[in-house]
Symmetry: C2
């Protein structure tokens, strides 16, 4: 087997976020669970857009945010995802490349348009996501760059992309490519509702040893195991996967790696502006630490620092120089 030349390649939804402030009442009236992600068709998306406040368009997508964050911490990264050949597709492609991430999935002609996620941010900083998957759901297995995947230490996959059929097949193929090349596979469970749609598949992935590093938040861990005791759920899932990382919001995060346990507190921040991307950037910090050969605890700490930066401003792509932040804190 050849030595990897990249740190990570991610496959994920290629999405432009449209981030707007919203009152609690507006989110409640939409009938959506605050803090969750729901899928919608273009018509419903257009209807919500016409009612929501003025937006900022900032490139997003869970796994894309993670590799953009890792690149900002010095990791060498690639991304695979499907945009349409429209203005928002150009925005997505520009931004991820400007972040230093290799991205060469060809844009898709015609309808539907590039995916967008209408994000309602309430005054508490909580984000509620309303996603029109658009072109993103048509990522074909043929668009998977096999050489790119085989060249990276880690293949990173987002649970969200399990919803549409074509990318799900593409991700399964990618897992096989990565493992055949002797690489690790990291997977994020993404969202509790996403788990409720795919619990069986996700458990099969874990039981078949398809996943080497699993990311979840507390709610997702409990949803996956259908348990209500955090510690018991942690141990149950930790037995299925070599590395498990679970974020607990303001209560920090915990990791279990081959029996070793580590914990970290949340980083103190002045004000939570927008929690969009908090989990994505936690994963970015943790994985950047792991590929740098740092300890489990230091990797968690890097996750906490990156997550704290992202929730202090609108959008899920870093504004501060994450590498300098990390260096100042951890050396």
């Amino acid at each position: 087997m050849t030595e990897p030349t990249l740190d990570i390649v991610a496959i994920g939804n290629a999405i432009v976020d449209v981030i707007a402030q919203a009152e609690e009442e507006f989110v409640a009236a939409e009938g959506v669970t605050k803090g969750s992600m729901r899928l919608m068709d273009e018509e419903t998306s257009d209807s919500l857009y016409s009612r929501m406040g003025p937006g900022r368009e900032i490139s997003g997508g869970s796994a894309a945010n993670t590799v953009a964050g890792m690149a900002a911490m010095g990791a060498s990264c690639g991304f695979i995802g499907q945009v349409a050949d429209d203005q928002l597709g150009e925005v997505f492609a520009h931004d991820i490349c400007a972040n230093g991430v290799i991205f060469n999935t060809p844009a898709r002609s015609g309808q539907p348009s590039t995916a967008r996620c209408l994000i309602l941010v309430t005054p508490d900083g909580q984000r509620t996501m309303n996603t029109f998957l658009g072109a993103s759901q048509f990522l074909p297995e043929a668009a998977i760059d096999r050489a790119l995947i085989a060249s990276a230490k880690i293949l990173y996959l987002e649970g969200y992309l399990w919803d549409p059929e074509e990318p799900r097949a593409a991700m399964k193929a990618a897992i096989e490519i990565a493992h055949k090349a002797g690489r690790k596979v990291a997977f994020t469970l993404s969202d509790a509702f996403c788990i409720s749609r795919h619990r069986g598949d996700f458990l099969t992935l874990l039981d078949s040893k398809a996943v080497d590093i699993l990311f979840a938040n507390e709610v997702e861990l409990l949803s996956l195991t259908e348990m209500d005791d955090f510690d018991a759920a942690l141990e149950k899932v930790a037995a299925k996967v070599p590395t498990l990382v679970v974020t607990r919001g303001a209560h920090g995060a915990v990791a279990v790696q081959e029996g070793e346990h580590a914990r970290v507190s949340a980083e103190p921040i002045e004000r939570i502006v927008d929690t969009t991307g908090a989990g994505d950037l936690f994963a970015a910090g943790f994985l950047a630490g792991q590929v740098q050969g740092r300890s489990l605890e230091d990797s968690l700490h890097m996750g906490a620092i990156a997550a704290a930066e992202i929730i202090s401003h609108y959008g899920a792509r870093p504004e501060a120089k994450l590498d300098e932040l990390i260096k100042a804190r951890l050396g």
Copy 2:
């Protein structure tokens, strides 16, 4: 003459800003004067875009920012400007309508695309603007909503729109409509380089009494008069226009209205993030104060409060509730 039903109608460039952080060296290497606005064709814009950092797309346009800000302070506003029928055109239209501004200029089919302004924000918070006018430069006189203009107390025009030929003709027609309806005309000089391109026209506008309220910053005032003494330039221009408002950055602002002088200090802020829109929002605060019947000094104060809010975050559209900020400060 009928009573006005709107506070203000603005005619301006309909632009989506693409805001990116940039190092001082990057701006210097572009050969552009930091803090200025330069016009560029689509090819040059695309080339700069490919080299600049990841962006946030936030609706902009000088006069559009002003009416969006005024709407956030409770004024009833309209906007006239030309977008293309593309995704960024939809973004512009959505955002200004979501700000509560009446906007019904039909989108223009085909090329060029909606105007975009590539804004490089250096670590000092200063913005350097690189504008591709796109569809915006084709605002035809026929698109001017005469009834809308006649219905507003104030017609607000941006100097930037003097560059392209069709909107210039449209603005001249609009001035005539407004004055015939007994309304006031406000004008912002926009930019020192813009003045150097149109000094003769701008002085003719003032000498022909086409302008009732003139906005400038210190550099623009000196450029217009080709003088180097601020106080002398202030008095010279104040003699030509019923109301003159001049902003002086960190040194506050001064207004002269029918011989009455007023001054205000800049509002203290924690950190200047991005100065984009500072002048636009100062004008918004001042005009909102004037249509509320506030004193000259209070109107200046409202300008300073609105400008301070806009430079504390990325983008030239308000994030905080300006009406509440004003109420807390001025009652």
